[in-house]
């Protein structure tokens, strides 16, 4: 029966789609991103919470901070160890971006790799670099 040709064509099309990741990445090396720390961040040794916790939960912390600042005017964050921090993403030297002033090498490294497009930057702007 001549249906067999149509069926085989359909199968081939299906498997071309299915194996898309294999031939899309053919012969391409994709290095794992290493976010770079600024000297200031290195000197501080630790963020507001331990590194592993920050890696996993930073988005939730920022989300809670935003709600706290905007709705309750609460700008003080008390960490697990009892230290107090200023709750701000991008204003001043004691904000997140005050330490991590290298958005392209820090934030974007992993976000781009994992195809995450946070909407922080819909409202915030990256603090401009000092010009010498």
């Amino acid at each position: 029966m001549n249906d067999k040709n149509i069926i085989i064509t359909g199968l081939i099309i299906f498997f071309v789609f299915l194996t898309f990741p294999f031939w899309y990445n053919m012969g391409k090396a994709s290095p794992v991103p290493e976010p770079k720390l600024t000297d200031k961040a290195k000197a501080a040794k630790e963020c507001v919470e331990p590194k592993e916790y920050m890696k996993a939960e930073h988005m939730q912390i920022l989300d809670i901070w935003r709600d706290g600042v905007v709705r309750e005017a609460n700008r003080v964050y008390i960490s697990e160890t009892g230290k107090k921090f200023n709750m701000s993403l991008s204003t001043g030297d004691d904000s997140c971006m005050g330490c991590h002033s290298n958005k392209a090498d820090f934030c974007d490294k992993c976000h781009d790799y994992a195809s995450v497009t946070p909407y922080c930057w819909d409202c915030h702007i990256e603090p401009p670099k000092e010009k010498k």
Binding site: K4, I7, P21, N25, M26, K28, D63, V116
Partner: protein, 332 residues
């Protein structure tokens, strides 16, 4: 308690525990992260081809479309060109509507016996709605997962993620497709449990894929929104698989291995189960054949040559004898 779903549930629980113990206690990351996923994809491809080619080699000698409208007949009788197609074009439209919109499910009716006694047919659309929600959200989730297998991630994928996370609920942003998938598959499961007639006809093979998909969805949702896993590490592993340089990065949570193992099981199970309706829907002879039974000559492919003796030959053989007794003859 019902044996059929208890067996399936137990099977899935064992399948969850296997990678959990294997990775957490024995440290079999290579087995669960590299070997089993590759094997699963291989079995899926070979099994899929085997099943489809098996179907393809079955002859379909006659047109057996289910006719859901007026057949093409006399010129002044209006034909239903989609529900009773006569041409390949009509068949293609019928198939597209069936595959993309589940048209035959849409026609689902529920039979009821009312007081009187009176018979009623209720338009039952919940199954159609849940099936549509389930399949499309599953497709979206599947395509979204390509972000782990492609580097750089194509723009269209990022667009899909934007649309899927449109409501910007919480952080990491809630994906609609994940929530809809879990809700729809739960509905499809409860339907089999709560409707007595559905429970009666449901087998372990009906419950197993439901439990499996529910577990896959739950582990995925847990990883994204609750107990976080190392996404960058997972992408490194996935990219290793996709570029045939498999690696096992350190520090990926065990939940990821459970998720990956369940998906591998789904891939392995797929070609040998009812899930093959994915390929089968294209090959359903009651949908993909034009209704031209009388208009075209259809020859049975397994017809063997039959020895025939026509009337002409018969007359030639017995002409003289027939003439003698005065029988009428075609040829003198």
């Amino acid at each position: 308690m019902n044996k059929k779903y208890m067996y399936s549930l137990l099977a899935v629980i064992v399948l969850i525990l296997l990678p959990y113990v294997g990775v957490e206690a024995v440290g079999l990351q290579v087995l669960f992260g590299i070997i089993i996923p590759y094997l699963a994809v291989l079995i899926f491809i070979i099994g899929f081809i085997y099943r489809v080619m098996d179907w393809a080699s079955s002859p379909v000698p006659f047109r057996i479309p289910s006719t859901c409208g007026q057949q093409k007949s006399l010129p002044w009788i209006k034909q239903n060109k989609i529900d009773n197609p006569f041409t390949a074009g009509g068949v293609i439209i019928r198939m597209i509507l069936e595959i993309l919109f589940f048209r035959s499910l849409f026609r689902n009716t529920r039979f009821g016996l009312n007081e009187g006694p009176k018979i009623s047919y209720v338009w039952e659309k919940w199954l159609w709605l849940a099936a549509l929600a389930f399949h499309y959200s599953f497709l979206t989730v599947l395509i979204r997962h390509l972000r782990f297998f492609l580097e750089p991630v194509p723009v269209c994928l990022q667009l899909l993620e934007k649309v899927d996370g449109f409501f910007q609920v919480g952080l990491p942003g809630l994906y609609m497709s994940g929530a809809v998938l879990l809700a729809a598959v739960t509905f499809l499961f409860l339907r089999r449990i709560y409707l007595p007639q559905m429970r009666y006809i449901s087998l372990a093979a009906d419950f197993f894929p439901l439990f499996l998909i529910i577990s896959i969805a739950i582990t995925g949702i847990l990883m994204r929104y609750f107990t976080k896993v190392d996404v960058v590490g997972i992408k490194e592993l996935a990219m290793g698989l996709a570029s045939f340089h498999p690696t096992i990065p350190d520090g990926i949570g065990v939940l990821f291995y459970v998720h990956l193992f369940l998906v591998s099981i789904l891939f392995v199970y797929f070609p040998f189960s009812k899930l093959m309706h994915m390929g089968g829907i294209f090959l359903s002879p009651t949908r993909n054949l034009p209704n031209n039974t009388r208009a075209k000559m259809h020859i049975n492919p397994w017809n063997y040559p039959v020895k025939v003796h026509t009337y002409d030959e018969y007359e030639d053989e017995f002409r003289e004898k027939m003439k003698e007794v005065g029988l009428p003859l075609e040829k003198e």
